[in-house]
């Protein structure tokens, strides 16, 4: 037994006021579904039912798109950039004021540790609104092209790993550039999007500028297929991304897709080892590994591999896995039963293919969906766990001998979202960044996000960028690009 036991330090959930059921947020108010059904959303840490939400029908989506079109043709479309900016600043401030409420609700619905929702998700979401608020009246000067104009109505479909943050990544640039929005949150994590609808009302946004429709795949498909949608923005799996690309092929719809990843986190022999170990941990165990840009492949130079593995395992034994609402929890619950099965299937395959499996042996709660922080050593490029996105707290360790081999292995994947490079040698960082086919290359850090920095993928990790001026350009047409 440890000498220094941390007593439970749970964040109070009293700050969250959950309704027993939610309708759809269309044209500035919550409405009943027309022909849709309902489904339950649960707390993945306890399997407790949190609330019942609407599974929107195609008719509901049609109403939402119509409301967005009216808003675009009406007040919002005619509004000056400076005035749009005021609304965005207002939303950002309200998010900050209600930060604790959002953090607790995000943790309840998603299973992520409160320290992450409190210190990462919610502050970054507010930062995205602040950042884009500043651009709203300066689009002419953003270097996007001549006379940048909104597309019109934007359909947005977001994933369950960062529900509020992904909403902010989508809605903030869309509104800053003058578009109106129909957004569908993921079916397992709809609650913070529904609370955001409350913020939209509080901020007095004109009706129809932001519409939130909950539902599963069919609802998303209805948005994708709707003829009056001008642009789509999707974050999620590569499989669904491909379906969307096929659906809109030949139409006038624009799209940005932010899809899966299998990032390499590359540790050279001269790296700052203690900080690199922290970076490995942050790379793959942040948010239970439910991160598209997670550093799920550790590429470590062979001459230091044994030392790094030993240090990494010792560090993982101090990870605190459990109640996501406890302020000392480092790793929370897996978001859903389906995701837990996917992780289990792939890790079983890793073992069957001959990689050596290790986990930190921590105790797991009896109820809910849980998976121990796991490391596979002796992994080869041909193993499924080195190729397929696991999207869970599972690290595959591979080794390399030379910088050229590290690059070859890092790029030998259909994905290309992110990569990490750890070395004290600045020239090598620059050379590696040049060679790696990944949208983001982190040097001596990992999983750092900022609204000013564009984020997006190469290859099957998608196309288009979010954040920064590059992200803005996806939401406008200009006279030069039509």
């Amino acid at each position: 037994m440890a000498k220094f036991e941390y007593a439970p330090a749970p964040e109070s959930r009293a700050v969250v006021d959950l309704a027993p059921s939610y309708g759809l947020f269309i044209n500035g108010e919550f409405t009943e579904s027309q022909g849709g059904s309902a489904f339950k959303t649960v707390n993945p840490a306890t399997e407790e039912v949190l609330s019942e939400v609407t599974d929107a029908s195609a008719a509901d989506v049609d109403r939402a798109v119509a409301a967005a079109r009216r808003a675009y043709n009406g007040a919002w479309g005619r509004m000056s950039g400076a005035d749009r900016g005021k609304y965005l600043f207002r939303i950002a401030r309200i998010l900050q004021e209600r930060a604790r409420e959002f953090a607790v609700l995000e943790t309840l619905d998603n299973g992520k540790p409160i320290k992450e929702s409190r210190d990462v998700d919610v502050p970054l979401a507010a930062a995205h609104f602040f950042y884009h608020a500043g651009w709203a009246d300066k689009l002419e000067y953003a270097g996007l092209g001549t006379n940048p104009r909104a597309h019109g109505v934007v359909g947005q479909v977001i994933p369950w790993n960062f529900p509020l943050l992904m909403l902010a990544w989508k809605i903030a640039p869309a509104l800053a550039t003058g578009n109106t929005v129909v957004l569908k949150p993921a079916e397992t994590t709809p609650l913070t999007a529904l609370l955001f609808a409350d913020v939209v009302q509080q901020a007095d946004l004109p009706p129809g500028v932001v519409n939130i429709v909950t539902g599963a795949g069919a609802t998303g498909q209805a948005i994708v297929d709707h003829p009056d949608i001008d642009k789509l923005a999707f974050t999620g799996s590569t499989g669904v991304g491909k379906m969307i690309a096929r659906s809109i092929a030949g139409t006038r719809k624009k799209a940005t897709l932010e899809l899966g990843g299998k990032a390499a986190n590359i540790i050279f022999e001269d790296a700052a080892i203690d900080q690199a170990v922290e970076g490995i941990v942050n790379g793959i165990f942040f948010n239970q590994g439910h991160v598209c840009c997670a550093g799920s492949r550790l590429l470590v130079q062979e001459n230091i591999a044994a030392d790094v593995e030993r240090r990494l395992k010792r560090r993982l034994e101090t990870l605190r896995v459990g109640d996501p609402l406890d302020k000392n929890t480092d790793v929370g619950a897996i978001n859903s039963k389906a995701q837990l099965s996917r992780i289990t299937e792939l890790t079983d395959a890793g073992e069957a293919e001959g990689a050596e499996r290790w986990d930190n042996g921590c105790e797991l709660p009896a109820k809910g969906f849980w998976f121990r922080p796991t490391v596979f050593t002796g992994v080869s490029q041909t193993h499924r766990i080195a190729q397929e996105e696991i999207f869970g707290p599972v690290l595959s360790v591979l080794t390399f001998r030379t910088p050229q081999e590290a690059v070859a292995k890092a790029n030998n994947t259909p994905y290309g979202l992110s990569a990490g490079v750890w070395t004290e040698k600045g020239s090598r960082i620059l050379w590696m960044a040049d060679q790696l086919r990944a949208g983001v290359v982190w040097a001596n850090t990992f999983n750092k996000f900022d609204p000013t920095s564009p984020f997006g993928g190469y290859k099957e990790s998608g196309y288009g960028r979010e954040g920064g001026r590059h992200g803005l350009s996806a939401y406008v047409t200009t006279e030069s690009n039509g």
């Binding site: 440890a2 000498k3 220094f4 036991e5 941390y6 900080q275 101090t318 001596n444």
Partner: protein, 339 residues
């Protein structure tokens, strides 16, 4: 939970051990340089980020009570002023013996830390109580004196009854790359800590990290101090700002952890200067636990060099006992600063 604070440390032939660890037949400055410069670098941003993350741990109720008592028992209650008098030192000793007269269950600090000329006074005031006397030596705080003076300073404190010696390294030698000079200085002071009866006072090596500035230097100085036979590595004199920061202490805790992996031996860590609140002290204990491990959560292996910290811990302790904050007038203050 207070462990017995033994006042004798094992004697080692530091030079022979260093030759063995470095794999050289003669210990030269070149050998020491390549060994120290071969240690992995420290990434400043990552190190500070890790320390900040450890600082967000939420320590409540039973764990907070445990941490407060543990922190009290780890204090080297310190007065190091030109204006120190026997009366002030006796007051400090009385405070160490009875930190909170309203609650006899309050643990005592580990030691009282004074200048060498006050050792006899402190020793007499503490009697047979299990509170050590630590003396700063080697021309503290600057260390700018010749080696014979530093050794005489050390022997003088030992003869007066010091249980522990807090020496300063020659930062100028370290920064100019004269690692062998620093090594020999520490090794000779460690030898001078030997008493007439053959036992040896434990030696804390003050690196004055505020003057070393970079984390790479802190890491190298930590390894050099351990290699030369220091029983403790200590951040600061308290006379230079910044003194004991959490990231610097994190680097030192990594060093003692890795030193044990290499040699099987434990070395203590003492952050000193600038730690004034219970909240800060608890952050350090969290860092000890999660970086070096719980073996170091013991007054024998971890100390706080502090003066005002004790009263803040006592205030928190009273609050946990009676459920309300009392105030500065409800904790005794035997060593108010003159300025």
């Amino acid at each position: 939970m207070v462990s017995t604070t033994s006042t004798s440390a094992p004697s080692v032939d530091a030079t022979a051990r260093a030759r063995d660890l470095l794999g050289v037949s003669r210990l030269t400055n070149a050998a020491l340089t390549s060994w120290l410069h071969g240690l992995p670098g420290v990434d400043q941003v990552g190190c500070e980020g890790r320390a900040a993350a450890l600082g967000t741990r939420s320590i409540k109720t039973t764990s907070k009570a445990w941490a407060i008592d543990t922190a009290i028992s780890m204090i080297d209650l310190t007065t190091l002023e030109g204006a120190d008098t026997p009366g002030k030192v006796r007051g400090l000793a009385a405070k160490a013996l009875h930190p909170d007269p309203t609650d006899p269950s309050t643990p005592s600090p580990a030691a009282v830390c004074v200048y060498g000329d006050m050792v006899a006074t402190a020793r007499e005031a503490l009697g047979q109580a299990p509170v050590n006397v630590a003396a700063v030596a080697t021309a503290f705080p600057s260390g700018r004196a010749s080696m014979p003076v530093k050794l005489a300073d050390t022997r003088d404190a030992i003869e007066a009854g010091a249980d522990e010696i807090d020496m300063v390294i020659d930062r100028g030698a370290f920064l100019s790359g004269n690692y062998l000079g620093v090594f020999q200085e520490i090794a000779q002071v460690a030898e001078a800590c030997t008493r007439a009866d053959g036992t040896r006072a434990r030696l804390k090596v003050i690196m004055e990290t505020g003057e070393l500035v970079t984390y790479d230097n802190v890491r190298r100085a930590s390894w050099l101090s351990m290699l030369a036979g220091g029983d403790f590595i200590k951040t600061s004199t308290g006379k230079v700002s910044p003194a004991a920061t959490l990231p610097v202490t994190l680097i030192m805790l990594e060093a003692v952890r890795d030193w044990r992996d290499l040699t099987g031996e434990m070395v203590g860590v003492k952050p000193a200067g600038g730690i004034r609140t219970s909240k800060d002290a608890i952050k350090f204990l969290v860092t000890v636990s999660e970086v070096a491990g719980d073996d170091w959560l013991d007054p024998f292996w971890f100390r706080f060099g502090a003066s005002s910290l004790l009263n803040d811990l006592l205030l928190q302790r009273q609050r946990m006992r009676i459920g309300a904050y009392s105030g500065a007038d409800y904790v005794t203050d035997d060593s108010p600063s003159l300025y």
